[in-house]
């Protein structure tokens, strides 16, 4: 393996000078720089980052930690974060971890090893934050869960108001004339907390606010955020309650599964069954019919996260907890039905 020593030996300079050239240190003669760069290129030398990081105590770069490798929603935000960070001169390190892993412990390890100036967490388990976030001392941002009540002054958060958004989704169904509404999705309580249950809770409250009785047995099926699970849940729900004219799927992947379950029961969307999703992933726009959904503003989530993190890194501003507006997208999967109509739009 080629090391800095080999470059020094070959060029006749010391390893100190070689190191300076590698790190674009200004105090190097043009002659030395040229010769050393030439040999580095010839030998295709790559400095060992372990040694570099071990020695360097200076912080640098920003690390984005993403929970789940198959989360299209987070991937969209990531892409936008990278776009915004491209203009800053921080380099970005992206790390994907499994949904079940502890993102705060991972961050802690990376913090020790890489000394980034800050972290952006895409997804996170409140419990993990409460347990061990205290040991991270650089500015951080959490996207997707409010950290307002965690009590850390180096942690900002940017979130969609799930409660209001779910309320709007149900409102839209009510506005379209639906009264027999079911809810698909929301995991009851898994390791990562009760994901999506606040959406479910808020949807139920909106129904009750409109004097529509809600029977969890007949109008709700939990589901994880996948097409496969959404399919099974919707199928169970439609089987035990064929009266339903509209379903609120708590995630777009669940909505996709729901639409397929409807088709397999001979129901057309939206003629026989209306469906509204949640998140606003790209696919909702390409589906036939286009899927009605509550679109989270991924661009704003990304933009504000980056802005805030850079401000806090560079000017040590205080952390903030912001709610980002969402938008109900009408799509083509929700039909208007007549009041008192027995089922669908006829």
């Amino acid at each position: 393996m080629t090391t800095i020593k080999d470059i020094a030996r070959i060029t006749g300079y010391s390893i100190g000078t070689v190191s300076r050239v590698i790190n674009h240190h200004p105090d190097v003669s043009e002659t030395a720089r040229q010769r050393i760069e030439e040999v580095i290129r010839e030998l295709n030398f790559q400095p060992n980052a372990n040694a570099k990081m071990l020695k360097q105590t200076v912080t640098s770069g920003i690390t984005v930690l993403i929970k789940g490798t198959r989360n299209i929603f987070f991937e969209t935000i990531l892409e936008e974060i990278q776009n915004y960070l491209r203009d800053s001169d921080e380099d970005v390190n992206v790390v994907f971890i499994d949904e079940k892993e502890n993102e705060v412990e991972t961050a802690l390890r990376l913090f020790i090893e890489r000394r980034p100036k800050g972290f952006i967490f895409l997804g996170g388990n409140p419990r993990f934050f409460r347990e061990s976030f205290g040991r991270i001392s650089v500015p951080c941002v959490l996207v997707s869960d409010s950290a307002k009540n965690f009590g850390f002054d180096n942690l900002s958060s940017f979130t969609t108001d799930d409660t209001a958004a779910a309320k709007e989704a149900v409102s839209y169904l009510l506005y379209s004339g639906h009264r027999k509404i079911g809810i698909v999705g929301g995991a009851l309580n898994n390791e990562s907390g009760a994901i999506g249950m606040n959406r479910v809770q808020s949807a139920i409250e909106e129904l009750e606010r409109n004097h529509i009785a809600f029977d969890p047995d007949l109008q709700f099926e939990p589901s994880r955020f996948s097409m496969a699970d959404g399919y099974l849940a919707a199928d169970r729900l439609l089987k035990k309650n064929p009266e339903l004219t509209a379903l609120f799927a708590v995630g777009d992947m669940v909505a996709i599964g729901t639409m397929r379950a409807a088709a397999d029961r001979g129901l057309r969307v939206p003629e026989d069954l209306s469906v509204i999703g949640f998140d606003g992933i790209e696919y909702t726009h390409y589906s036939v019919p286009r899927i009605a959904t509550v679109r989270q503003d991924t661009d704003a989530l990304a933009k504000r996260s980056v802005e805030d993190l850079l401000l806090r890194i560079n000017y040590s501003r205080p952390s903030v907890h912001e709610v980002i507006p969402f938008r109900v997208i009408a799509g083509e999967s929700v039909a208007k039905i007549r009041e008192n109509s027995e089922k669908g739009i006829d």
Copy 2:
């Protein structure tokens, strides 16, 4: 920051003994182990991986390098690779890199820093392999491109026979009675090589073998592997050639865009336009209609990659280049049409 030195100081043992405990070295007294583990737990000590890797020359673990963070197909394979590797006692390190990045240079850097026992590449640019793979000396596997002619004896490859698969896709359309067939997708020549162009080429050959004239201008539109691009390409193609009764989309994402483009032109799938995709991603099974596609056997690709890599790591077997069988999935997006019918199935 807590280091091994602190643990040594507090427990009264030397850093050598602490290191042995951390690495589960057998030659440590029970007393020492217990005391040291206790303090490590109390202080929540995490050894600095930089220092560890810098010192250790022993190889360990397997690194999976994935090109593209939004490639559902690769993510499916990754999941299966992880399942298969769970049974071995190798730990797995997954690294996502941008589609435009040089995966071989990245592997080289990781090779220097982490010394894995082997690499699995999910996606790769033949040019990058030819240029610099020679400097990697551990067993590697490339999935998605045959490395047969690269001339490296430490590189196996497992691939779907794109040529045969594209031929079958077109066969299926011909068998269903279509004669006016268009092809959407395949990037002409971008940085990552002419991705998908072998599929296009093979599809054209199959048409010509069946005495169907092929006019690239009227029957082909290039597209990158995304819904958005697939939409635009299909829209252009359908606009300039409304006679087409079937489209072969060179990737499933392209097929999704194609189906939406058809809908926006008032065409029903499959009644007015048949569509067949390529890859067999999960979504094709949930779409309404289910998308006909050529399903690559992700499970076999994953399984054989892992088996082969472990065999070569542990018993230094020679590398192999295997073609994994595919399967045409009928779906619901291709209609049978009458011979001589002017358009669609009427």
